[in-house]
């Protein structure tokens, strides 16, 4: 295969990453019938691969449909929860706030454990809240891309199971699955939602969810009918099981080319030269390199010092405060002029105060690309051009 993607700017935004030539070539797959063995087996392989990336057993059911990551919020609420349910939302930034917002149209009663920007609710606060009221579910944003805060999913889930074993554990893994460790079975996670364009290394356009056994049971036993046609998992789950059994089933047309692209990206993750565990390790190493550079340059991160000391900053991304005298105009557009795309701030309280660098996927697993170094060397020069002296 001699396919080579077109020359382009280096993309290192948390939210979008570089894709391999092989993944993009698969996304250019010629038209294929849904009933073809090639497509049916690709879909089955994708579903099983997603289980493996999340360390989930066959008792869990992944569902992949045309959509986007945040569609998973609606899918969880409509199918696993019921109107009037209490849900505990852990605030770690903009995206956990949006999760809260997504619950409200469905009549869910939300309690939010808030934290200042760059911080997160403590395990003690979470335990205390779980003792105060009976919650049907707790929501955890593993990496909040607006702040770079990493939630300790393992510890939060353990605390939840200890204090309130009936509470379901929901995880937003949009900027984490495939980049940060997430062990569904071992950690007792009930629902994960994610998207392909970050840790999974595949273009966007797909909503990925995974239901653990308790969420599947809740889905099947819910009393209220699901007030949706397209979002009813009772329609989607049999389709997924059929594809995994090697047989076409139809509810809506699947995104065929993205399924082929995900098949390739999951193979790269699961059967490639870098194992899944090594991938997490390499993501951590890249993160350490970026964060050490930030410190060396005398800059601060948006994530609090305390979190930085206690594994509370994402490994998949870094949020950097502009140093004194430097503004957004000095960095993000200047980097873009050099062919390196990084992200501006997006938290409404301080979006002009910081920028964001993503370090995920092939940019960290394939050091020969030199992507991380390219970002840092350009950043050093751009800062110098703006007159910044560390």
């Amino acid at each position: 295969m001699s396919f080579k993607q077109a020359p382009h700017d280096l993309l290192m935004v948390p939210g979008f990453i570089e894709f391999s030539d092989e993944v993009l070539w698969a996304n250019a797959h010629p038209a294929v019938g849904l009933m073809s063995d090639e497509f049916v087996s690709a879909f089955g392989e994708v579903l099983d691969g997603l289980r493996r990336v999340m360390y989930a057993s066959k008792d869990s059911q992944p569902v992949v449909l045309s959509g986007s990551g945040n569609m998973g919020w609606d899918l969880a609420t409509l199918n696993v929860l019921e109107p009037g349910d209490n849900v505990l939302v852990l605030q770690t930034g903009h995206f956990s706030d949006l999760w809260e917002e997504s619950l409200l149209p469905y009549g869910i009663k939300v309690t939010k454990l808030t934290a200042p920007v760059g911080q997160r609710p403590s395990i003690e606060e979470i335990k205390e809240a779980l003792k105060q009221k009976k919650y049907r579910a707790i929501t955890i944003t593993q990496v909040d891309t607006s702040t770079g805060v990493l939630s300790d999913v393992k510890a939060i889930s353990a605390a939840t199971h200890e204090v309130s074993p009936e509470t379901l554990v929901f995880v937003d893994g949009v900027c984490s699955v495939g980049a940060e460790e997430l062990r569904v079975d071992d950690w007792g996670i009930d629902f994960v939602l994610t998207a392909p364009q970050q840790g999974l290394g595949c273009p966007p356009g797909v909503s990925i969810i995974l239901l653990g056994p308790r969420a599947l049971k809740a889905c099947e036993e819910r009393k209220a009918p699901v007030e949706s046609y397209f979002f009813s998992l009772k329609r989607w789950i049999p389709v997924m099981r059929s594809f995994e059994g090697g047989k076409l089933a139809y509810f809506a047309t699947p995104p065929t080319n993205l399924i082929f692209a995900m098949q390739v990206s999951l193979r790269e993750m699961l059967n490639g030269p870098v194992s899944l565990e090594e991938r997490f390790e390499k993501t951590k190493q890249a993160s350490s390199k970026v964060k050490a550079f930030v410190a060396e340059m005398g800059m601060q991160q948006l994530v609090s010092e305390e979190l930085l000391r206690t594994n509370g900053a994402a490994n998949s991304m870094t949020t950097v405060r502009y140093p004194k005298g430097i503004t957004a105009a000095d960095i993000v557009p200047k980097m873009a002029e050099r062919g390196v795309v990084i992200g501006g701030g997006i938290h409404h309280t301080c979006k002009d105060d910081y920028f964001r660098i993503g370090h995920i996927g092939i940019s960290v697993t394939d050091e020969s690309r030199g992507d991380v170094d390219k970002v840092l060397s350009n950043l050093r020069e751009v800062l110098a051009e703006a007159g910044y002296k560390p």
Copy 2:
């Protein structure tokens, strides 16, 4: 550009068609930031192109999101209708039945004008029904891919405006937009839903809707809150308007690569060597050729004789009854062995009685491909091998 898609079976299923090399190459676009001028202008161009394909003015608003065609049913119901509304569904096959089914979870009161398989409700029946009760909307499936029946959208819309001017006209254009004429402004259509993988010649994974001025107004003035987060058009419409104004706005991650692919496919349709009007004409010519072959071979279509005489059969596809002594096993799999993929029957009352051929897109606009002839010559041989004598 020297990209050439991989060798593959010829796909002529109503529901899936061949894609051009240029479209597939665009779908392999390297990772791109949402804020890049290239992406923002592509998205704006796609939205405007969709208006032009449907002959809609700037007063209409197209919305494109990650999803599938039938997601448009939910979007219409949740945003334009309200629980308790009466809706008149015109039955022309399986997909109009599913549209009815999609309305029920939302508390819509449905009246269905039924018709035998291969037929459609008459204009007189529709007028009579509209006189009996006040309907908020009427639903028309322009081409029902389960039967090959074509609805006369222009006449139905005119009848609706005449008898019940307040009734909104909803059109499912999944297997028709880009292949069959649909004039939103001239015909007074209020809501269209469609998908990219048929008449628009682009891989699936996108939900496309277009709201006319009355649907936009209904959307803005509806009393009941929209009981959805992801499906709330009040969130999506400003995003679309922003992209059309040349500026990024964000609600959920758009399917970047499919947007680039649609940009190319719409350019092919609107600025290519074959004009949109010629495209419709060429689709009709291909349809006539296939239907003449069916008659020459002494076979029957699923569409009734009366509809065949009165432009009531789709131009984008043909449904063919197996002749005496021939079964599904003799045709569809034998064609597949020859590298030509056509579709089996899918209407629950008679799925083993007929097969389906799609003739849309580059397979009809680019005669040098010889796709239609390839289907017909192989079909002739396969029928002969099965012992069929016309």
